[in-house]
């Protein structure tokens, strides 16, 4: 029997100080940096190479989608709580900005900030209520919230203008249309950059790791001491704020708001679908999804005119992606490149080792249930 009073640690292993597992080949870092630089250059050069203002405005729409989807991914990607009702914050951000400018004569971009702040305050009680439930129930609650807001903004005509819509004063009244698009294109790009940067920082933080553990198993995460309720709420509010910024900027750009569009389930679904398409666990997943789905939507709208065909076509596109790349485009493409690389075997011992060990053991006279004290090694 092993002695219970053995005081000192008996560690006979070779010491592994640094976790230096070379999982990724070293060129991968340079591939990433190159992709990042090329991608950023393409985004920044787009207004210059866009052939006409219409295409440029499509670019603005796609960047707007990218902001919304990346904003959604603060919640959906990190915690796995799928909200189909984030259009609520898109609408609130847009209407908040518009109403603050119209009714309180705030400067456009101050109104934009104040609206996001108000959205954060609203998102706290809503989040506390919605996050009490998980899974499908959370999805339903999130949809209910956006539908309620739709009814309120349609019916409360005195304030919101109801279905007739609400015009938003332009922040740059002197600009001609193409210039207006160009300026907002860069504003959206800057907002997207901020959202991506914050997501990236969280992704590598202890906070982010805790959020991801909630995504995998909330109870287990709690048992390790993660304050899951607070963390989910922080992610939810952060997500709402970025979506609100996206909505507010949309209001300033487009200049005309209608509840049926601002609080539509469709907008909320687009955010989810774009993020899923690109890959919710990847920084650039939602952006990529927005580029693909956004371009497709714009193209189909152009092609099929004012019908609902663009929705069918988008649906088919998504079906194909979900079928062949269930984790999204980015993980699928990554897998293509890393498939043949050095994924070590998960076997703890090889058959040869096992044989050797057994042979050695049978040669000894000690009882068979005392294997030697070496750790598990894979050659």
């Amino acid at each position: 029997m092993p002695s219970a009073s053995n005081p000192g640690p008996v560690i006979t292993e070779t010491i592994v100080v640094a976790p230096s597992a070379p999982v990724r080949p070293s060129w991968s870092k340079w591939v990433r940096i190159t992709l990042l630089v090329v991608g950023a250059a393409l985004v920044l050069a787009f207004p210059t190479i866009a052939p006409n203002p219409y295409i440029l405005s499509a670019g603005v729409v796609i960047l707007n989608y990218a902001v919304l989807s990346t904003g959604w991914n603060f919640m959906g990607g990190f915690t796995g709580y799928i909200s189909l009702g984030h259009a609520a914050y898109f609408g609130l951000g847009a209407y908040g900005t518009a109403l603050l400018i119209r009714n309180f004569a705030l400067p456009s971009f101050l109104a934009w900030f104040v609206a996001a702040l108000l959205v954060a305050i609203i998102a706290i009680p809503v989040g506390i209520a919605a996050l009490r439930v998980r899974g499908a129930s959370f999805v339903i609650v999130s949809i209910a919230f956006v539908l309620i807001l739709l009814l309120v903004f349609q019916s409360w005509r005195d304030v919101t203008g109801g279905s007739e819509g609400l015009t938003v004063p332009r922040p740059f009244p002197d600009l001609l249309r193409p210039e207006h698009h160009r300026v907002f294109y860069y504003l959206f790009a800057a907002l997207l950059a901020v959202a991506l940067a914050v997501w990236w920082i969280i992704d590598r933080s202890k906070f982010g790791t805790a959020l991801k553990s909630i995504r995998e198993d909330e109870d287990k995460s709690q048992s390790l001491g993660v304050p899951t309720t607070q963390y989910k709420l922080i992610a939810y509010v952060l997500s709402a704020v970025f979506v609100s910024f996206g909505g507010g900027l949309y209001a300033l750009w487009f200049g005309d708001l209608d509840p049926i569009f601002q609080f539509s389930i469709l907008i909320g679904s687009y955010m989810v679908l774009m993020a899923l398409l690109g890959g919710v666990r990847n920084l650039f997943g939602p952006l990529l999804g927005a580029v693909v789905v956004g371009s497709a939507l714009e193209y189909f709208k152009l092609e099929f005119g004012d019908t609902q065909f663009h929705l069918i076509a988008t649906g088919i596109l998504l079906g194909v992606v979900v079928l062949f790349m269930p984790d999204g485009i980015i993980p699928a493409v990554k897998a293509l490149f890393t498939r043949s690389s050095n994924q070590a075997s998960i076997r703890e011992v090889t058959a040869g080792e096992l044989l050797e060990e057994n042979r050695a053991r049978s040669a000894e006279t000690v009882p068979p249930r005392r294997p030697d004290a070496s750790g598990e090694e894979t050659p």
């Binding site: 029997m1 597992a21 553990s213 390790l224 666990r281 294997p371 598990e376």
Partner: protein, 254 residues
């Protein structure tokens, strides 16, 4: 068991159950001395896992007391128990499969705010379980069952627990890997962490343990040095793989 002060963990006269249903534990007492492996064995339904749930604060006992290092901590919830120095390794596979080994281990240190302590613990668990360092950046779900178990052990050790509660560490593992897991349990003990172990694989577990407790009907039926329990022919016949248990579910007795 006589001198109370020198035990790390003491469960005294615990009564506990789920909801309004019958009691699962009926006056159970278990003690864990420092640097020892205490193993609870017994038939299904004897209340083995419930003992761990009570100790880790997941289930608050109806009566009885829990002491850690002589301090009364009865009624503390899971997070307090973690701070009190009890880490619970749940049954089955409990790594976060889609996260890296490193992230898993670092989550174990979530409640530890001192960066220096965290670094020391990382080094400590990497020495104890070399696989943790070797596979630091790989997804934990890609490891084999035995390796995942080591990640779980490492994660639980990050809070520098006084006692680690292990619920059926051999579940779902082949005999060869099971042997290794128990070897690692012994190494945790040798490195200074006491272990309270629940195990179906009773004979194997008692070979590793210092003290064995046979549970039946919610109390400790017999306890003593593990080697003595192993040597007892009646016990071996009853609980260590003689006949399968029957009619011993605690709830049938209420």
């Amino acid at each position: 068991m006589e001198s109370e002060s020198k035990n790390l963990l003491e469960l005294h006269d615990i009564e506990a159950g789920y909801g309004r249903a019958a009691l699962v534990l009926r006056g159970l007492s278990v003690v864990v001395p420092p640097s020892s492996v205490v193993c609870l064995v017994g038939p299904n339904g004897a209340g083995k896992s419930t003992v761990l749930k009570v100790a880790s604060g997941m289930l608050v006992p109806r009566s009885g007391s829990i002491r850690i290092d002589g301090r009364d901590v009865t009624g503390d919830g899971p997070q307090r128990m973690l701070q009190n120095g009890l880490a619970h390794v749940l049954q089955g596979h409990s790594v976060f499969r889609e996260m890296t080994v490193g992230e898993n281990v670092m989550l174990g240190a979530f409640t530890v705010s001192d960066e220096k302590v965290v670094r020391e613990r990382v080094e400590f668990v990497q020495n104890l379980f070399p696989i943790v360092g070797e596979r630091w950046k790989q997804l934990a779900g890609l490891l084999s069952g035995g390796q995942q178990k080591q990640v779980e052990f490492a994660r639980s050790l990050m809070v520098s627990p006084k006692v680690v509660l292990l619920d059926e560490p051999s579940m779902g593992l082949d005999p060869k890997t099971t042997a290794k897991v128990f070897e690692q349990v012994a190494r945790m003990r040798d490195a200074g962490t006491a272990v309270l172990l629940v195990e179906q694989n009773a004979r194997r577990a008692l070979e590793t343990a210092d003290i064995g407790c046979v549970l039946d009907l919610g109390r400790v039926h017999i306890s003593g040095p593990a080697a003595e329990l192993l040597a007892d022919p009646t016990l071996a016949d009853l609980y260590l793989g003689g006949q399968p248990s029957s009619g011993t579910d605690a709830s049938t007795r209420s």
